[in-house]
Structure formats: C-alpha cells, structure tokens
Amino acid sequence: MRASADPFLSLRGVGKTYRAGGRETVAVSDATFDVAEGELLALVGPSGCGKSTLLKVLAGLHPHDAGTLRIGHPGFDPGRDIGVAFQQPLLLKWRRVLENVTLPAEILGLPERATRDRARDLLALVGLTGTEDKYPYELSGGMQQRVSLARALIHDPKLVLLDEPFGALDALTRERMNLELRRIWAGSGKTVVLVTHGVAEAVFCATQVAVLTAGPARMADAFPVTLPEPRGLDIRTTPEFGALTRRIYDKLGMT
C-alpha cells in the first residue's frame, strides 16, 4: 500500500517535440512538478508556451518523448478515469443537453439509467436544471460551457483536465465560472489541471500554479497558492493575492 502523500501526478523533465517535414518544434521542454490528489493545479503561460500540449500529454492523446510521467495511484485507468473540457464547448448540436452530457459514459458503456440520473445531478450542480431537453443552440455560451463541464464529470473521473475552458467567455461570466469551478471541485475530491493564460484566474482557482514561459518553451516555476479557503472573488483585492500574482508576472517576464 502506498502512502497517500505520494503525488497523484508526477512529472520529471517531461518534454514533447513535434517533428514534421524534417523540422523539429519543441512544444514542451522539461516540465517538472508534482500534484497531490485533490489538488487544483493551474498551468499558466502565454499563448504558444506548450501548456495545451502538456495537457494533451496528460490526457494520453500525445505521447511525451522526454522525461518521466506518472499519473494516478494504483488502479488508475487512463482510459476510464480522465475527463476533459476545452475552450470551445464542442457540444453535439443534434443531441439534447442531457444526451450531450452522457456521451463519454455511453462510449465507456456505463449503465444507461444510472448515467442519465447522474447527468441530471451534474446539470443541477452546474446550475442548469431544466435545460435537459433543450438543444445546445438554445443556450448561451456560458451555459454551453457548463454543459461541457458536466460532460467532463459524467463518468466520475479521478483526473479532470480543463484547457482554457473559460477563455471564450466574457469577463463577468468568466469570473462567475471561476467560482463555479471552485465550488464543483471543492466538493468532489478530484484532481484538476486547469490550463489558462489568465494569471488572476490561475491564482484565484488553484492550490498550485505552474508557470510555463514562451520562446524556448519551458517550465519556469511552480508556486503553491496559500490563500485561505473558501475563497470569494473579493480575495483578489488582498495583499497576499497581489503579491503572488506579481511573483508570477515576474516569472513570465512581464513586470
């Protein structure tokens, strides 16, 4: 039996290089950090810094070609225990909201009845009770993104990977979704990796922020976020929040 202090995610010098037409592009070089079970890690960095690539490596969509990567405790099944959501909601427009949420569970062949009940619970969790039978086009962008969050959770994954899930939303909706994300995460015990280019969003949401820099794409540093729990949006006006945010901007070379 493993000690529960073992990290849930462990990356040591993980790198990914794309080769196309004889040219090599280093997308990620030397990502090194640990994430404990139940943590919410934010991966922050400018566009093109390889954070989405790193997320795809974690999702098992692309193999990494340098370093070592360990995901999950014994019994973790990468094909079963990972949920994802992207910047675009990517809902199937011919399916109603409920059937959109159930898609991953259908693919995994989970029992239909229980899945539909769970989908209803998740829609309630993301504040969308009553939209089960609507089509995606009847929902606003923020609501569609909530559906895609519910879908990421339908098969009760242990690891949830979110690739700039609020990047396409307006500022106010985005702040509300940050609160929602923390509420959903706090009750779940799930490990979450959130890719974002918003430093404030990263600090507000996460228990740990990993900073990637552009150019020669590399891991710059990881900061534990020691802000108190639970957090309200007003925490962003505190000196602690400001100090941490400034240190991250420093790391990104933006001060």
């Binding site: 999702a59 098992g60 094909g79 949920g83 199937l92 011919w94 991953p104 693919i107 995994l108």
Partner: protein
C-alpha cells in the same frame, strides 16, 4: 401555412400568366397550348400516361437511391483510408468533369435498352455531389471533439456512429438536394437517347406530329417527379437533422 403563401401565390401567378398568354396574348397553340388543352392531353387514347410516369419515376428514384447508397459508402471508405482518399478523390473530380449526358449513348451500347441503362445514367449524374459533400462532412469534424472521445478510448466505430455520421448528415442532405435535381435530368436524357417507355420517350414520340399539348404534359409530369423527389429529401432531412444543424 402563412409562411408558404407567397410561394403558392408565385406558382399560381405563373399558371395565370400561362393561361393569359395562350388565350389573349397571341401565342399560337402549336407553340404553346393553354393549361386546359394541355390537361386534355391526358385523355389521349394513344398514350399510356400512368405506365410512362411509373417508368420515369422508377428510373429516377432507382438511380438516385443507388447514388445515395454507393456515394455514402464510398465517402465512409474515404474517411477510413487516407491513402484511398488521396488516390480516388482527385480521380472522382476528373471523372465528374465528363459531361455525364454524353455517356448515355455508350451506356446503351454497354447495357442495352430499357430501365437498366437509364438507372445507370441517373446514378452517374447524381452520384458525384453525394460522395463529395458526404466525404467533406465526414472530414469536417472538430479535431478537439475527436480528442474528447479519444480520451475515453472511443473505438473507430463509436466515433463514426456517434460523431462523424450525424455531423455529416446536413452535408449529405445538401448533396442529395442537388442530386435530386440532376437525377431527373439524367433519367430524361436516358429516355431521349434510347428508350421504349417513360415520359422522355413520350416527348420524342409525339414531337414528329407537333402534338405540343402532350409534350408539355410530359414535361409537367417529369417536373412533378422531380418535385416529389425533392420534397422526399426535404422531409427526410426534417426528420433526421435538427433545425440548427441544417445547411442552407
């Protein structure tokens, strides 16, 4: 109903214009007979209208249905094999540039007279828009949507059945709408070139006697077969594709 009123009015207006031009407009009746006279051609004892209508409809629907089945099957093969797609798609584009009506005389040499060569010509003319639009629809799935289901290890069949096929349906239907128009043209050309039955055959047969009422009547019935095919496609689309997903 109110939404369709302008369309119905436009149709009736054309009918009215036709009646007016042939009654008071001075159009000679051997050039264009009036609506009533055209309708009376249906009573001509020497023409077995129901049989000819049935032959034309069978050929048009038959060739069209075959085009849908083969076209969709080929498009599916293309999504499963990039090598085949790269080899065959340009070939299809080249073949598509053959004026298909010019194939009609050859088809008669190869397949003889009757329904078979006419179904074949209808098939080749309506096949291309279906395979090309469907292949495009199957290929135009958001890559991240595929990532989403690959994370939970979706099989190729699941990806096809749950994502690619439904998202290609609007493309398929837009291809079918184009194909329906072409199909009826293909059938009639086949009947012109060599046939012993069908509405196109009727037109050729009565042309020698300047029986314009029968010719116009045949033309109207051909058009109605086309309208029926088109409406069938639209009804099928309404049933299969949600409103938001339809291509305009």
């Amino acid at each position: 109903m109110r939404r369709h009123a302008p369309a119905v009015l436009a149709h009736l207006a054309l009918l009215g214009l036709w009646a007016w031009a042939t009654t008071y407009g001075g159009v000679p009746r051997f050039i264009l007979p009036g609506p009533l006279e055209t309708l009376r051609a249906l009573a001509a004892p020497q023409i077995d209208w129901p049989r000819h209508l049935l032959v034309t409809a069978t050929q048009a629907f038959g060739g069209f249905a075959l085009a849908v089945v083969v076209g969709v099957a080929l498009a599916v093969v293309f999504t499963w094999s990039a090598a085949l797609r790269r080899a065959l798609m340009p070939l299809l584009v080249t073949l598509n540039l053959i004026p298909k009506v010019a194939l009609a005389p050859l088809f008669i040499v190869w397949l003889g007279y009757g329904i078979v060569p006419n179904i074949a010509i209808t098939f080749v003319i309506s096949f291309f828009p279906i395979v090309i639009t469907t292949a495009r629809g199957l290929a135009e799935v958001e890559p991240e949507l595929l990532d989403l289901v690959r994370v939970v290890r979706a099989t190729r069949w699941q990806v096809f059945r749950k994502i690619q096929l439904p998202s290609a349906l609007p493309y398929l239907f837009s291809g079918m709408r184009v194909a329906a128009v072409l199909a009826i043209a293909g059938t009639v050309v086949g009947e012109f070139v060599g046939s012993e039955a069908g509405l196109g055959f009727v037109m050729m047969a009565v042309q020698g006697t300047l029986d314009t009422p029968s010719m116009v009547m045949a033309l109207i019935l051909i058009t109605l077969v086309g309208v029926a095919m088109y409406l069938a496609v639209v009804a099928l689309e309404r049933a299969a594709v949600t409103e938001d997903a339809r291509l305009r």
